[in-house]
């Protein structure tokens, strides 16, 4: 791209294949990261479209645009796509794939071919999930949780959707074991554990959760399929089965999955703050250990999804107590982030703008999480729009905002171009305002008692639903503006230098975009990651 002395970028040398084949059969972690990014983008749009349609249906009570069963498959597919295809793989497979090897000074991940296989599985799962829309007896209508016995009884195409999620779980496991091995085996000389960037720490913690939690989901979903085809009766009370056991198994995975979604996002935030404050991170070890702490305690709190399900009161009390303990490491992170701004030299570029809004929205999500975790209040708001608001604040306001922050932050490194700063901030404004108008009313709706997954509602809930739907349009406008800016800048943006933000981690020492082999010579690391002197 530049002079002849510079090694060719990974865009220009695609290995033995040509054209599109050089992408879909690549083993280069950077190309796989981009493959994932493009696929995530497509699935995100599909999921968001379902979300917008749901909001449109809820603009007024009664039937607005679709029938009840169509609406039910809307929220099922919105959930399945957003959770299994966007937010769980999200940051690790795209930004993580691209930057994990770069940040630890490696040429690739430990198992490049398994990395590619994992993308193929991801695509297979994604396509099967979309196929469940058009085949069989209609799209699944169970909600993304596939609760038995409804998921066993319904005539819709649950088996295919469940099988898709099973395959996606496989893909997630492969990514996890790849990352754990990479971090253990491929760190550059001198890169001791406490010299690793905190994004790497967060990916490492996440990878362990993926390895240890996902198989439980695998077997649970497999059992749903077996139930549907052979009627074994594990979750069917008429044959002695216990439907609550399904919920246990499901949440044993799906609660840790929440941390698969949020911990990498926290890692991105931790990368961005020191760079834009031009100072070292405050409390490196506290942040690193809190990643591990969240991942570890996250395994033992699944029961808080079941406070009204009929489980024993003893287990409710213990699960509630543990739930509060998992709040503490998240709190530590927030305090350390804020402290890292103290006496810095701060410039609020787009990545930091997203990070600041992340902290604000994540705090709302986290603090309302305390209300959910408390037994007495949980009983009232469980399964209402309060929960919907809470997890969208954490997942969208948290993970997705951090994802967007990371996209802007690493954009020059990935594409070798700069995006338009003014347009990016303009888009952020719509995103932030639209987000709050869309989701904040749901807290009130939930407290007033409007259950979630409701196609129709009482007239008393109308106004807030209307406001929320208007918010969804503003948010959509923000998303469109942001994507247009980014996509346009891939070709038309100004050329970016190798280190536009003056970052101190290893990925900024290589050209933008990086060459195929990342480093001409494997660097020798002599100090911690965020040294500004």
């Amino acid at each position: 791209m530049q002079g002849n002395n510079e090694p060719k970028s990974f865009y220009e040398s695609g290995g033995p294949h040509k054209g599109i084949l050089s992408w879909i059969f690549t083993t280069d972690h950077k190309r796989i990261g981009l493959l994932y990014l493009a696929s995530l983008f497509i699935f995100f749009i599909v999921g968001a479209a379902f979300g917008l349609l749901m909001r449109l249906e809820l603009i007024a009570p009664g039937k607005t645009i679709v029938t009840a069963s169509t609406y039910n498959s809307f929220f099922t597919l919105h959930g399945v796509i957003m959770i299994f295809l966007f937010i769980i793989p999200g940051i690790p497979v795209s930004l993580g794939n691209f930057f994990l090897p770069l940040q630890i000074g490696a040429r690739d991940v430990a198992f490049p071919r398994i990395n590619l296989l994992s993308w193929w599985l991801y695509m297979t799962g994604g396509i099967l999930a979309l196929m469940s829309l058009f085949t069989g007896d209609g799209p699944p209508d169970t909600g993304w949780t596939f609760y038995a016995p409804y998921s066993i009884r319904t005539g819709t195409n649950v088996s295919l959707a469940v099988f898709a999620a099973f395959i996606l779980g496989f893909s997630s496991i492969l990514t996890g074991l790849n990352f754990v091995t990479t971090v253990h085996r491929l760190r550059a000389p001198g890169m001791s554990w406490f010299r690793m960037p905190l994004f790497v720490w967060s990916l490492y913690a996440t990878a362990w959760v993926q390895v240890l939690a996902t198989p439980i989901l695998g077997i649970t979903l497999l059992l749903i399929i077996i139930e549907r085809f052979f009627g074994v009766g594990f979750f069917d009370p008429s044959k002695g089965g216990d439907p609550l056991l399904y919920q246990h198994l499901f949440w044993i995975y799906s609660h840790p999955a929440v941390y698969i979604m949020i911990v990498p996002a926290m890692g991105v935030v931790t990368e961005i703050i020191p760079v834009f404050a031009r100072r070292t991170i405050f409390g490196y070890k506290a942040i690193a250990f809190s990643s591990i702490g969240i991942a570890a305690v996250g395994f033992f709190v699944w029961g808080h999804h079941m406070f009204t399900s009929g489980i024993s009161d003893t287990s409710k009390a213990i699960f509630s107590l543990l739930t509060f303990l998992v709040a503490i490491p998240s709190g530590i992170k927030v305090f350390n982030w804020v402290a890292s701004l103290y006496k810095g030299s701060i410039k609020v570029d787009t990545p930091l703008l997203f990070v600041i809004s992340f902290v604000f929205l994540f705090c709302i999500g986290g603090l309302t999480g305390l209300i959910n975790g408390t037994l007495a209040t949980n009983i009232h708001i469980h399964g209402t729009h309060f929960i919907v608001a809470h997890f969208h604040y954490v997942m969208f306001g948290g993970t997705a905002f951090a994802f967007f922050a990371g996209l802007h932050y690493w954009f020059p490194k990935i594409f070798g171009r700069m995006y338009s700063e003014a347009r990016a901030k303009f888009a952020w404004f719509f995103l932030f305002i639209g987000f709050n108008i869309l989701y904040f009313p749901m807290f009130i709706l939930g407290w007033q008692g409007m259950p979630r997954r409701y196609y129709d509602y009482l007239p008393m809930f109308h106004e807030l639903n209307l406001i929320s739907t208007i918010g969804s349009w503003i948010l959509a406008a923000g998303l469109i503006l942001m994507f247009i800016n980014l996509v346009r800048s891939i070709k038309k943006g100004e050329r970016a230098e190798s280190n536009p933000w003056k970052g101190t981690t290893l990925e900024w020492t290589v050209p933008s975009p990086p060459p195929v082999e990342n480093f001409e010579e494997i660097p020798v690391v002599t100090q911690g990651p965020y040294k500004y002197e």
Partner: protein, 96 residues
């Protein structure tokens, strides 16, 4: 290029055959013991013997004995996690 080979020396045949004999003996012991009806204790003994067998397989056949610290410790992780899964599920089932 660089080769980070950490293969261990070949384990001799005798060790393996010895372990195999032990495994068979333990199987025989389980079958013998469980012929007496002992109620709750029976399942405990059976599981205990099965765990010893599993440990032998892990330690010798699967070479954990010859591996580094990571392998020896990491393998405890899924076991601990699983014990917690069962334990916490039983907090519900037992007290329901």
């Amino acid at each position: 290029m660089e080769q980070r080979q950490t293969g261990h020396a070949a384990v001799n045949y005798k060790t393996y055959i010895l372990i195999w004999t032990a495994l068979l003996a333990l199987t025989a012991v389980t079958i013998a013991v469980t012929q007496f009806h002992m109620g709750g204790a029976g399942i405990l003994i059976a599981l205990l013997i099965a765990s010893v067998k599993a440990a032998l397989i892990l330690y010798f056949f699967m070479h954990l004995r010859y591996e580094g610290r990571f392998f020896k410790l990491a393998f405890l992780l899924p076991i601990i996690v699983f014990i917690f899964f069962i334990g916490f599920t039983f907090l519900d089932v037992f007290y329901r």
